[in-house]
């Protein structure tokens, strides 16, 4: 695979190393001269100096033949533009973008720049996962593939509380994949009992969120 990575910060540099180790061809782009010189000592010709939001820099890096473009600069506007031009102008099939400020994630989604990864959000979700009774935690969101994994605490008054897994009214396109209870987790059988206070992991089509919430936590407020 030929990969272009924009931004030779820690993430971009590490990504480049990992992808090269896996046997892919990578070109890294960096617009700051001092950073470029530093990374060039290790990566040599695999890093190019230039602003990745400039068309001629992308073209010089061979964007027309790139299979994947990854934008991990420290600037969200730049990451949006690089991915947008890679996909729309240069017809690059796969893009991945980094979101520096989680509040900008909405702009990435508006313009269809996905997957857009925010380190802050990932860590926040891990924190939420650790807090008991947090409500609904989005563990994994692959919107492009219409796939999401969520974690929910089963409320006392939930229809699913006290039911067997096989009896829960799960909408088509969703599945309970794990029950977490008392510090441990297990993959349930249809006969497994769900108890109030359990955390359930559900894989689902994103459109089914409301139907799922009804089964496990009918009093839940809408969660973003």
């Amino acid at each position: 695979m030929y990969v272009i990575i924009a931004g030779a910060g820690k993430v971009g540099w590490s990504l480049t190393r990992e992808l090269i180790d896996k046997g892919h061809e990578v070109t890294l782009l960096e617009g700051r001269r001092s950073r470029y010189l530093q990374v060039e000592q290790e990566l040599e010709h695999r890093i190019q100096y230039g602003d990745a939001t400039e068309l001629w820099v992308l073209e010089r890096a061979g964007i027309a033949r790139a299979d994947l473009t990854i934008a991990v600069t420290g600037d969200d506007e730049d990451n949006i533009l690089i991915c947008q031009m890679a996909r729309d102008k240069y017809l690059c099939e796969r893009i991945v973008a980094r979101v520096n400020n989680p509040r900008n994630l909405q702009h990435f989604k508006l313009l269809g720049i996905e997957p857009a990864v925010s380190a802050t959000d990932l860590i926040l979700r891990l924190i939420e996962h650790e807090v008991p009774d947090y409500g609904l935690v989005h563990l994994l969101d692959l919107a492009g593939d219409r796939l999401e994994i969520i974690e929910m605490t089963v409320a006392e008054n939930a229809p699913a509380a006290g039911s067997q897994v096989g009896d829960v009214q799960m909408p088509e396109g969703s599945l309970i994949i794990s029950i977490l209870r008392e510090g441990g987790g297990f993959v349930p059988k249809p006969s497994s009992q769900i108890k109030a206070g359990d955390d359930v992991l559900v894989v689902l089509d994103p459109g089914l969120m409301d139907a799922i919430t009804l089964q496990f936590d009918p009093n839940a407020k809408p969660n973003g």
């Binding site: 939001t53 068309l55 600037d75 506007e77 031009m85 729309d88 702009h107 508006l110 313009l111």
Partner: protein, 140 residues
């Protein structure tokens, strides 16, 4: 007409003042408090007393756009000093807030041309400068 100017540098501030003088409603969004002072140069009263609106904030912040009145804007001009900011804000204005007219200053002729073809009204001073200077150089 209700005009929003995002980025009140030389171009943005001048246009803002002219639009206000012509009787339009003008709302300026800029992240630098100094830009408000520059707006008031030559005015006999403060920008806000003169009827102008000013919001301090970065335009990627939806709160700043809303505080600036984007939901009722007729026209939005993107004139920050960054092409990438201008292009992203313009698309947010168009696609999320359906602003009827969005004008974007883009210094890079390459991006100006490409985004022009994607449906943004781009204005490229660099392109004009190239043409005018070339004409001046070649003129007898």
């Amino acid at each position: 007409m209700f005009v929003i100017i995002v980025g009140a540098g030389r171009v943005g501030a001048t246009i803002a003042k002219r639009m206000l003088a012509e009787g339009h409603q003008v709302s300026v969004i800029d992240e630098d408090p100094l830009s408000l002072e520059k707006l008031e140069i030559g005015l006999s009263e403060s920008w806000e007393d003169a009827g102008g609106r000013f919001t301090l904030g970065t335009a990627l912040e939806v709160e700043a756009l809303l505080a600036g009145g984007i939901e009722s804007a007729d026209v939005l001009c993107c004139t920050t000093n960054g092409d990438n900011t201008n292009l992203v804000v313009a698309q947010i204005a168009q696609k999320r807030f359906n602003v009827a007219k969005v004008i974007v200053r883009v210094l890079d002729p390459g991006r100006a041309e490409w985004y022009g073809r994607q449906g943004l009204h781009t204005i490229c001073p660099t392109q004009h400068a190239i043409e005018m200077i070339e004409e001046a150089v070649l003129a007898l």
